[in-house]
Amino acid sequence: MTQVSMRVDGVSYTDEVEPRTLLVHHLREALGKVGTVVGCDTSNCGACTVHLDGQAVKSCTVFAVQADGAEVTTIEGIGSQGDLHPVQKAFHEMHGLQCGFCTPGMIMASIDLLKENPNPSETEVREGIEGNLCRCTGYQNIVRAVQQAAGEMSGSSDTLGAQA
C-alpha cells in the first residue's frame, strides 16, 4: 500500500491505496465522488474526465498514486444546486444530454477547452471534445451548449441570445 494525499473538490484526503488503483476507482469508492462515472473502461469514452491540477484527464487512465499531491476537481466540485457552473447551466438549457451518462465528462472536458479557447467555433468545439463520446444526442445540442456557455463566460451572452 502507498500513501496518497490529494485535494478533491477543495477537501484534503490522505489514504492508503494499492498502486494499481485507478484514480476513478479511488474517487468513487474511497472518497464517494460518484458523480464521476466509468464509461468504457478503455480510455475511449471520456465519461470519467476530471481535472488534475486544472487539466482535463481521463481518470480511468491515471493511477491514484500519480495524483499524489495534486488538486483534483470533479463534476461535483464545479457548482451546486441553485448555483450551477455556466457549462452545467448551458447543458441544461440547451438539452445537451439525454441519458446523462457522458455528461460529467463532457462538462469537464468542455471547461478545459473553454479555458484554452474562450470562443471556439463549432468545429473547434467538436475537435475539442473529440475525446468524449455520446451515444444519445448526436452531439448537436452538446455543441450548442458549449457555445452558449462560452458566450456567457466571456460576457457576450446577448449576442448568443440573438443567434438562438
Binding site: P19, D41, A56, E127
Partner: protein, 285 residues
C-alpha cells in the same frame, strides 16, 4: 477492469530512475504518461511486477535550445509540445503531428518520449522523428549514448533500448533554410490511430525542391522513409505534376500489414495519395 498488482517506484531524477529500473529486475516497466501502458495493464496484456513512474523526474521535462538542435525532454507532454514556442519555431512538423494524437485529455498526460519508446507503428511521432533525423539520448547503467532515429526503431513495439535503459531526451536538428512541413493523417473516426499517415518536410530553392524528407506512419512494423520519392523530388521542379509523379513511388520498399482497418494494398494506395498531399502542402503549392 483492474490491472494486476505491482510494486511502484517514483524516482525524482534520472539517476534514481536508472537505479529503480535496475532494482526492478526483468519484469519492470517504465511509465511515462501511462496513456498506452495503463490501457494494456487494465486489459492485463501487460502485468509488470514493478512500474517505475517517471512523472516526477523534472529534468526530463521541457524543451531547450541547444544551438543547431532543439532538445525535447522525453517527459514533455503532448500538450506542452503543441504550445511550446521553440517547437513552433524550429520543429513545427512535430507540433502539427502531435495535435492529431489521440484526444485533448490523452495529450495532457501522454509524452513525446513515451510515444517514441512505445514504438507503435500506428503512432504518429516515430515517423516524424525519423523524417527530422532526430537523435535519441538514452541513459543506462554505463552512461549515455545517442541513437539516430533511423536505428532506434527495430520492430513492432520494439526499439534499441536495452534492459535498464531510459530514453531521456530527443535532439531534433533545426531545419536551416526555407522549409515547409505538413503531416497528413488518414483515420476513420476522431481519436483513432492512423491507418496511414505521412510526415513531410520540403526545402524549396529557386522554384525547385532542393530537399524532401518524408516519414511514413503504419507502412510496416517500424516507421519508414519514402526514400524513392525523396530521391525523385530532390532537384525536381516545385510543381504539382512533379510532386504527383514522385509520390507514386511512396510505397516502394514498405511492408504494410492487413488488418481490420485496411488491406495492405489499400495502405500502399493511401501512402501515395497522402504523400502527394503532404509534399504539395509542404512545398506551398
Amino acid at each position: 477492469m483492474i490491472p494486476a498488482a505491482f510494486e511502484y517506484a517514483r524516482p525524482t531524477s534520472v539517476d534514481e530512475a536508472l537505479q529503480a529500473v535496475a532494482e526492478g529486475g526483468e519484469d519492470v516497466k517504465i511509465m511515462a504518461g501511462g496513456q498506452s501502458l495503463i490501457p494494456v495493464m487494465r486489459l492485463r496484456l501487460a502485468a509488470p511486477s514493478t512500474v517505475v513512474d517517471l512523472g516526477r523526474v523534472a529534468e526530463m521535462r521541457g524543451v531547450r535550445d541547444d544551438g543547431d538542435a532543439l532538445v525535447i525532454g522525453a517527459m514533455t507532454t503532448h500538450a506542452e509540445v503543441i504550445t511550446d514556442p521553440l517547437v513552433a519555431q524550429h520543429a513545427k512538423l512535430i507540433a502539427e503531428a502531435t495535435e492529431t494524437v489521440a484526444d485533448r485529455q490523452t495529450r495532457r498526460r501522454g509524452t513525446f518520449g513515451g510515444a517514441l519508446a512505445h514504438a507503435d507503428p500506428a503512432g504518429d511521432l516515430p515517423a516524424v522523428a525519423l523524417a527530422l533525423d532526430a537523435e535519441m539520448v538514452v541513459a543506462g547503467p554505463n552512461g549515455r549514448r545517442t541513437v539516430p532515429a533511423s536505428e532506434f526503431f527495430v520492430d513492432y513495439l520494439t526499439t534499441t533500448l536495452d534492459e535498464g535503459e531510459i530514453l531521456v531526451e530527443i535532439r531534433v536538428p533545426k531545419l536551416a533554410g526555407d522549409w515547409g512541413v505538413r503531416y497528413e493523417k488518414f483515420n476513420r473516426v476522431a481519436q483513432a490511430w492512423s491507418i496511414v499517415a505521412v510526415a513531410a518536410a520540403v526545402r524549396r530553392e529557386n522554384g525547385h525542391i532542393a530537399e524532401a524528407r518524408i516519414g511514413l506512419t503504419n507502412m510496416g512494423p517500424t516507421p519508414l522513409r519514402a526514400s524513392a520519392t525523396e530521391a525523385a523530388l530532390n532537384g525536381a521542379a516545385a510543381s504539382p505534376d512533379a510532386v504527383a509523379a514522385a509520390a507514386r513511388s511512396a510505397a516502394e520498399g514498405t511492408s504494410p500489414s492487413s488488418d481490420l482497418n485496411a488491406q495492405a494494398d489499400y495502405r500502399e494506395h493511401l501512402a501515395q495519395v497522402l504523400t502527394r498531399r503532404a509534399v504539395t502542402a509542404a512545398a506551398g503549392l
